[in-house]
């Protein structure tokens, strides 16, 4: 940590407080600032604003910024943009018990479209799909090689009447690009052919109104991608569909396809891998997962190079499922823990590295014993870490075929493992094949 920088921020907070007639001890400010910065991992500016907020001060609104069109977004600029909301989604995540609401979607003007992403901005609560809005004081960021409008809590958002027409075709991007699903990256507008692997009907409550949506998994031989259909296209598992003009958005930084009015969704009959062939986990390498920012039902061959603390036998709070520390839940205090098994580890295939989390079933299968047996062994040896060491022995430096979904946040990517099996083929056999294949 940069001591000088911290001092600078603390001094700025002190002055801002003084200006508001509040005299606060520097050490106290420092403590509060570092709490946000380090304990909660907020950025420097956010931490500064949070401390001011704690003393009841709303930071001054930031000055207006220059207006740009969506086809002219340049990273790191502060901007004002106006356009129509083509899609908007809300996501709530929680970290250390603190809930954060994020809105994200796609904005469109007469020159193009751009994804937006908003943290802690209540101005978006009222905004719906189809609204014309102005965003002032946003930043242009970059995500997956594309410009993204980053809305901060200091950006202002209001509904406006646009003095330009929104073209029917999706702006300057031209016709949707024909792609394989592996290239369906967030923010893109695409055309593709895929099979519906699964679909389920869900009722959601959108602003007091009940709405039926259909969500499931689409697949081609390159990847599997979750989709959400906002209207009933009568999709059933097994259908082969040809889609043009679909939007790819990011859900937990993983691509997801939106099917909606105004897109061509056509059921077709063509030569295409069948359900069995597709429902297998898509073989991928870790660099590909890194490029995409995530993956759905990927199948990766990798070596476990680290088993992380928190693996093995754990106890969860019976009320909130949080992992207990020494029998104590952060929220509910001392409780009777429910035993559970888990592996947290790092896998590496030489092209990249990924975190993984495997739950009870997968862990029990690796250990070849049940939770109850583990509890018994831990009791007998009076040592819970006995299970951790067994896991280390069974997985460290060993190769596995690992299947699951990969989700990402700003810090890292993690695979939630659904299957994890050791490589069966013997090294001797592989060596014989390779000599044959390479002629070495």
């Amino acid at each position: 940590m940069d001591e000088e920088k911290v001092a600078l921020h603390v001094e700025r907070i002190r002055r801002a407080l003084e200006k508001n007639g509040k005299h606060v001890d520097e050490s106290e400010i420092r403590k509060a600032y570092l709490n946000y910065l380090i304990t909660f991992g907020l950025g420097e500016r956010r931490s500064e604003a949070k401390v001011l907020e704690d003393y009841g001060i709303t930071p001054e609104p930031t000055p207006t910024s220059h207006e740009v069109k969506l086809n002219g977004l340049v990273p790191d600029e502060r901007i004002k943009v106006r356009g129509r909301v083509i899609s908007i989604n809300r996501a709530v995540s929680s970290r250390d018990g603190v809930e954060n609401t994020r809105y994200y979607g796609i904005l469109k003007d007469d020159t193009g479209t751009a994804p937006f992403n908003a943290w802690e901005n209540e101005g978006l609560e009222e905004i719906q799909k189809g609204d014309d809005i102005e965003i002032d004081g946003a930043y242009v960021g970059e995500w997956n090689g594309e410009a993204q409008i980053r809305i901060t809590k200091y950006s202002t958002i209001r509904k406006v009447e646009l003095d330009f027409e929104i073209p029917d075709s999706v702006g300057s991007r031209g016709p949707a690009e024909e792609v394989k699903l592996v290239s369906a990256l967030p923010g893109r507008r695409i055309a593709f052919t895929a099979r519906v692997l699964s679909v389920e009907e869900r009722k959601i409550n959108a602003r007091g109104e009940e709405k039926t949506i259909y969500s499931g998994i689409l697949a081609d031989e390159s990847a599997k991608v979750p989709f959400t259909a906002w209207k009933d296209f009568n999709l059933i598992p097994g259908d082969l569909i040809k889609v043009s003009g679909a939007y790819v958005r990011a859900w937990r930084n993983t691509p997801q396809i939106n099917l909606d009015d105004g897109m061509d969704v056509e059921k077709i009959d063509a030569d295409f891998p069948d359900m069995d062939e597709l429902d297998r986990g898509t073989p991928m390498r870790i660099w590909q997962v890194e490029e995409r920012g995530g993956a759905n039902d990927a199948l990766i061959r990798a070596t476990i190079i680290q088993v992380k603390p928190g693996s093995g036998l754990i106890f969860r709070c019976p009320i909130c499922r949080w992992v207990l520390q020494d029998g104590v839940c952060k929220k509910h205090g001392k409780v009777d823990g429910v035993p559970d098994l888990r592996i947290k580890a790092v896998m590496d295939d030489g092209s990249g590295a990924l975190n993984l989390v495997a739950g009870k079933e997968v862990t029990a299968a690796i250990l070849e014993k049940s939770v109850e047996q583990c509890v018994k062994e831990a009791k007998d040896s009076m040592d819970r870490s006995v299970v951790f060491r067994q896991i280390e022995e069974l997985v460290l430096a060993k190769d596995f075929l690992i299947r699951g979904n990969v989700v990402s946040d700003e810090m890292s990517s993690t695979m939630i493992v659904t299957e994890m099996t050791p490589i069966e083929q013997s090294p001797v056999e592989i060596a014989e094949e390779l000599i044959e294949e390479w002629g070495v």
């Binding site: 390498r285 890194e290 590496d348 295939d349 030489g350 890292s412 990517s413 001797v428 060596a431 014989e432």
Partner: protein, 288 residues
């Protein structure tokens, strides 16, 4: 998203023949050793035989140098006071024994034109022969992939990262290959192909060793199997009966216990009451 540096699989020969290292422009400037085949090594995953360990530090604050040999040469390991655990682990390890090491590239340039390359272990893991053999074939595959990428680059008039990526070579490797081509010129692919042939033939030669070891194992398993069948009653076996029968047969008690442990792990036999009673499923093919 912060991408973690992958652990490259490289043989000692390729690492030893490297004479280029670069520091990146990022924060903390990680170091990369660029190998002749374009591996851009910041982190490695290596498995080999620990043949030599020396402590230049103290008992409490070890500073260890060690040598890990694979089938193509030696890796030199160094540890410092910042990670004493790894030093302790190396000092605890037997020589020779199979070790897996995850570590960081580290270089020392005593004079111009001389580059000494080390690995600073982040963790060391005791492994068995099969894990070592698996590493040999996996590392062969990774080396071959780099050779293919290098072959492509050598055929291009003016190779670029983009051209390599366009033909499906992954970004990190494309970057490394271009750096390698600029520094080393053409790689001697034939020499590396020969190296891979030697490594793979070595792995195959292990097959004989395997059957020798297995042969030994099988006979003991069979003896213990017969022993158990001679004392079982409806699938129940008393430990006391089993050990006295073993004694009569002149079998080593410890060996029999080890064999029973193995059968327990394999799920062929179950312990009903620890130290008292065992149980087998007579339906199991193994017992019929």
């Amino acid at each position: 998203m912060i991408k973690r540096e992958p652990a490259w699989r490289v043989f000692a020969q390729e690492y030893r023949e490297s004479s280029l290292h670069v520091a990146s422009d990022e924060e903390h400037s990680p170091l990369y050793v660029i190998t002749p085949l374009g591996a851009r090594v910041n982190r490695v995953f290596i498995v080999g035989t620990l043949i030599d360990v020396t402590n230049y530090g103290t008992e409490d604050e070890p500073s260890v140098r060690a040598t890990l040999a694979d089938q193509t040469g030696h890796f030199y390991l160094t540890t410092g006071q910042y990670n004493p655990e790894v030093g302790f682990a190396l000092l605890r390890a037997e020589t020779p024994s199979f070790l897996a090491v995850i570590g960081k590239a580290h270089v020392y340039q005593p004079e111009d034109g001389v580059l000494k390359k080390y690995i600073r272990p982040e963790s060391v893991i005791q492994v068995d022969r099969e894990t070592r053999d698996r590493w040999l074939v996996e590392t062969s595959k990774a080396t071959w992939e780099r050779m293919e990428a290098m072959r492509e680059a050598m055929e291009m008039a003016e190779p670029s990262e983009k051209m390599l990526r366009d033909i499906g070579i992954y970004p990190r490797l494309a970057q490394g290959v271009i750096q390698a081509v600029k520094h080393y010129g053409e790689a001697n692919l034939n020499a590396y192909a020969e190296m891979l042939g030697d490594v793979l033939r070595y792995v195959i030669s292990q097959k004989d060793l395997e059957s020798m070891l297995e042969g030994d194992g099988e006979s003991l398993t069979e003896q213990v199997r017969q022993l158990i069948l001679s004392v079982e009653n409806n699938g129940d076996i008393l430990w006391a009966d089993l050990l006295s029968a073993a004694d009569k047969e002149g079998l080593d008690e410890e060996k029999v216990k080890d064999e029973i442990d193995r059968l327990l792990i394999e799920g062929k036999i179950f312990e009903r009451q620890i130290g008292v009673r065992l149980k087998i499923e007579k339906d199991d093919e193994f017992w019929s």
